[in-house]
């Protein structure tokens, strides 16, 4: 038997807190990493005469492949966090709606704690 009433309201608020506050804030950090860095913006830094080093753009191909992979894993982490946060908020609202006391506690905490 799961929580009901005020206890369920507290549980719902925790999901809301994770989905509305914690995960979006964390996701923003990953988004900022991913969007704050662009491998292609460093391309010109590698360019030189083709007789020098590893050719016209040197190690850019190998470096940018790794850098783009980094960009992808950071963006994916941010996306997963944000979408899961949405699901947690949906859960919080869904469960709170099943119980009047839970809804009251849930609403009170959202008002007071944000």
């Amino acid at each position: 038997m799961g929580d009901t009433g005020t206890e369920l309201g507290v549980d719902c608020y925790e999901l809301y807190d994770a989905g509305h506050n914690l995960y979006p804030a964390i996701a923003s950090e990953f988004d900022a990493c991913a969007t704050g860095f662009s491998a292609s913006s460093s391309y010109n830094a590698f360019v030189r005469d083709s007789s020098i080093g590893l050719g016209y753009s040197g190690a850019y191909t190998e470096w940018s492949a790794a850098a783009n992979t980094l960009d992808n894993v950071l963006a994916e982490t941010g996306r997963n966090l944000r979408d899961t946060g949405q699901a947690l908020m949906l859960a919080a609202n869904t469960y709170a709606a099943t119980d009047a006391a839970a809804q009251a506690e849930y609403d009170r905490r959202k008002r007071e704690l944000g």
Binding site: D11, G36, F37, A39, E62, A66, D83
Partner: protein
Amino acid sequence: MSFEELSAHAQEIVEKAMEWDLERMGYMKVGDNEWMPRSSYGGRAGQYPGYGGSTMTQSEVDADMAEVSGRYDDVPGLFDAFSSLPDPASFDAGIDDLTAALGKLSQGSGGEDPTNGSPTPANTILDGMDTSQDYLARWTGIAAAQFKENFVDTFESITTNQFLLTSYIKGALEAEKSLWDAARRNIDEIAEDTITALEEMGDCGKNEWSMAFSVAGAVVALVAVPFTAGGSLVAAATFAGVGGALSIGGAAVGNMEDAPELDMSGESPEAVIGNMREAITKLKDEISKAEQKIADKMTELQGIVDGHRELFVAPRPNLADSGPGDIREDMGVPR
């Protein structure tokens, strides 16, 4: 001297070498790049039209000039290739962006950047994941439990691996920056040493000099650091990156290679410039070897991420795709 004057240095080398040769062939300088045969020098004395009684014809003079300049006409081209070397400062923007990313990915008690040993203060926003761990522990649904187990519980180790990955990619840029800083200094030193050697050919004593190729030590091998497997500290893959000598400085992080040296000597322009050509070839070779290290490390790193993607990003949680129709089943009940 400076790198920006490389073309002027190349021209000066050609002029000094030609000057030495032409003076010994009986010519004297009468203006900028203008030479005339002396009137009474060796077999060239006589009636040269227009100057001091030399017997040389204009075509003979032209042939001498062509022969001498032909000995060195490759010199400007040898330096031209270096005049467009990458600017070390042009890597700074990328390094700064990746340094900022490190600050966002540092968690717990803070991370240490393996490319330079710098401590990186923890980003306390990431602590929110610990808070949510407690929240989710009470929910019994399979999707909720899977999310906690596969995403929340592994968050710290995966973020640590992302931090290391970011650092190694930044380290490669720092290595490139150091490489081109050293390459610019080395090509400038070759030009400067060559000019000095040309000036000292007639002096007493042996005309000897050496060239140390610091470019070889610009890309530093770092100590190996393991990527951790989710939840445990078991090393799932180990990687030793590269960094730049400029950013590492004297820190005993890696293994600085001794700069290879080339000993040179010469008492004639042909010998001095022959040494210069050898030094430039050696410099190109050392640049290629240093940059190959960077490329190889990035390929190795890419292989590790491709082969162990689960170490760098958690699989998309089922919960992320829950909708109104399945959210109750996915979350279960709170205990």
